[in-house]
Structures are given as C-alpha cells and as structure tokens.
C-alpha cells in the first residue's frame, strides 16, 4: 500500500493527518504536482492511495474513510454526510477562495465567498452537545473539514470572531499532533505561499451564481 502526496497540495493535509492519527502502516512517496499516478485519469490528481489490490483511490475523502475503517472505525451516516457536504458544497468555494487569496491577494472576496458555508458550519457546531462534530472522539469528518479549512484559516482576516463554535472546534482539532505534523509536511512552514505552485496549475474556479436558472 502506498500513498502518493505532493508538497504544497492542500488536499494532502487531510490524508497525512488521518494516516498518522489512525496509525495505519503505509509507505509515503512524494511526487511532483504534475505526476500522473492514476493511469486512467486525464488530469493529474493527488493525493492517491495505491491499494493492496492494485486499485487506485483518487478521492482524498475516500482515502481518509479507508484509513479510519482499517484503523478500526467504520463511518456512520452522519460522517458520510459531512464528507459529502465537504466535497460538493465546501470544496468548490474553498478552491475559489484560495485562488482569490493566494494568487490574487483578494482576501475580502475570499471572505465573502466563505460566508455561507462558514455560517452553516457555525450553526451546526453551536447546536451540538459533543466535543467534535458528531461525537466526543475525533472522527474522519473532523479531520477532513479541519484540513480543508486550515490553509484559509492561516489568514487572520478570514477567521471572523463571531464564529465562536467554529473557532473552538478548529483549535481543538488543530491541536492534535497528527494535524500539526501533516500541515508542516505539506506547507513546510511557508504558510499559504507554499500552495502557490499547486494553485497556479489548477483551472480557474468560478462560483455558480446563487440565483436559480431561469427557464
């Protein structure tokens, strides 16, 4: 089993954090952003996990779920739902916000784009009774969401003070040694600037307008 990652690719933070947290044994190989690890995909994608069966997992969330499961924790419906939200709702906005912030220096626009998903997260976190998103022990959705937000949260202006529940939860997850070393490994202590090379190679992400299409 081998995990392919690349420095400065934000999607690699979550899989490295989960790998360390679960204690799963797996080789790690650092490759270039442009390396085509999955033979059937036209566009290079990372991180990738080469499974013992020879199959490739190219979804970072599926890799995280897999590590958690072989580490002894099967996902619940609530976890799956957060992962789906992260992939479908949050990621497109994060991709756009990171490009705005890191490549164009437009932090106000990045903050604007993040408003809706962050308010949604705040609402959910403020209603919960557990230490983490769905339970009292850290679960796959905590790491996945923390890692997704981490590069943006390095920018103080993108951490609105009124989102107190998000902030407390974010600090709690981020304090885990596994999260700290994963962030260090991907960003190399260079902060958001480390993501520049990766972001420049991504297609420009434009957000869908919030108005329903007319018929």
């Amino acid at each position: 089993m081998k995990l392919f990652v690349s420095e400065g690719n934000p999607h690699c933070i979550k899989v490295l954090a989960v790998l360390e947290l679960t204690g799963v044994k797996c080789d790690i190989e650092n490759v270039n952003h442009e390396e085509k690890v999955v033979p059937f995909l036209s566009r290079p994608v990372l991180p990738v996990l080469l499974l013992p069966s020879g199959q490739h997992l190219f979804s970072s969330n599926a890799i995280c779920q897999y590590f958690f499961e072989i580490g002894g924790k099967a996902p619940a419906d609530a976890s799956t739902q957060w992962l789906e939200w992260e992939a479908t709702e949050l990621q497109p906005i994060l991709g756009h916000a990171l490009q705005m912030l890191v490549l164009q220096g437009k932090s106000a626009e990045a903050a604007k784009a993040l408003e809706d998903p962050m308010n949604f997260l705040e609402q959910n976190l403020s209603k919960r009774t557990s230490s983490f998103l769905t339970s009292d022990t850290v679960a796959v959705e905590d790491i996945v969401l923390w890692a997704a937000l981490f590069p943006l949260y390095l920018e103080p202006s993108l951490r609105p003070a009124e989102l107190t529940s998000v902030f407390t939860w974010f600090e709690r997850v981020g304090a885990l040694p596994a999260c700290q070393s994963a962030a260090q490994r991907v960003l190399q202590g260079r902060g958001q600037a480390a993501l520049k090379g990766f972001l420049q190679k991504q297609p420009v992400i434009t957000l869908r307008r919030d108005t329903p299409p007319c018929n």
């Binding site: 199959q55 969330n61 939200w85 479908t88 497109p92």
Partner: protein, 173 residues
C-alpha cells in the same frame, strides 16, 4: 431528477414503503426526513443509507477496500458528473471508459450502488451520443448496457440502444 432516481433506487433495493423526500438550496440537494434522528442530506449519503436500510450492505462493498472504492465513485458522481461543465463531459467519459476497460462493475466484480447511481447520472448524456462516439467509449457503453439490463435498475429511464459488441457484428454476414 435526484428524487426520481432515489425512488427508482428504492424499488431496485426492494424497499416496499416509499420515503418522502424534499430538496434544499439552489442545487436541489435531496433531503430525507427521518423519524428517529436528524434528516439526511445529499444523494450519496441517502443512497448509502437506503442500502443499509434494505439490509443489502454488500451493495456498499464487502471489504474496507471495496467500500472505499464504492464511496469514491459515489463522490465522483456527485462532484464530477453533476457539476460537470459541458466542455469537460468528454474528458469524464474518456476517463470512465479507460477505467472500465478491465472491469465489469465500478467496484470490480460485483454490482454496488455506485453502478445504478452513475448509470442514472449519465443516461441523458449517453442518449445523445452519436454512433461513432458510442463506439469510441466502448467499455463505458458496454458497462452502461449491462447496468440498464440489470434486473430492477432501469425503472424511470428509457432503454438506450447501444452497439453490439464488435465480435457479434462481424458474424452478421
């Protein structure tokens, strides 16, 4: 669209009592109210839940590896296909075609819920493919034809005529 497909999926899974769904947001994300707990949101999440409810967990994969592969293709469906810009759809078809070269089903040798869900999602694309394109994406077309004829899958969708395998067409004379 997601709601009709969830209803077809329920029938395929053999769930007798249909659920009531609603949608939320601009993207019309499906939502399932439940009697004992919070609502479930999202097509992949609801589909996985229905398979468990129908006591067919094998459709989510029987090993951790398979379960991860099934989840990956469910995610692929809701991120890469549902959000796909028109100019990228050919790339997605090409990639799927390449992937299916040596596979019967998305997760390998047995059907999973990722198969009907991907079939529902690309039906409207495959319907419009020209004959030559169907031939170009031959592995994908073969998989598509197999899934649309799989007992209990098709339901709300019209059958699509796909090409016969080249092996058979050469026998016609």
């Amino acid at each position: 669209m997601a709601l009709r497909e969830l209803s077809s999926l329920e029938k395929f899974l053999g769930l007798k009592k249909p659920h009531k769904y609603s949608t939320q947001g601009v993207k019309k994300v499906p939502l399932l109210q439940s009697n004992n707990g919070p609502a479930l949101v999202g097509l992949a999440t609801i589909a996985s839940h229905l398979a468990k409810e129908a006591k067919k967990p094998e459709l989510l994969g029987t090993t951790p590896e398979q379960r991860a592969v099934v989840q990956q293709w469910l995610e692929f469906r809701v991120t890469r296909i549902d959000e796909c810009p028109r100019e990228e759809i050919r790339t997605v078809l090409k990639d799927l075609n390449q992937y299916l070269e040596d596979k019967v089903y998305l997760a390998g040798n047995s059907l999973s819920i990722a198969d009907p869900l991907l079939y529902y999602a690309i039906h409207h694309i495959v319907v419009d493919l020209a004959v030559q394109e169907k031939e170009r994406y031959m592995n994908l077309t073969r998989w598509f034809d197999h899934i649309q004829h799989y007992p209990g899958v098709r339901h709300h969708l019209a059958p699509v005529v796909v090409l016969r395998n080249r092996v058979y067409t050469s026998c016609h004379h």
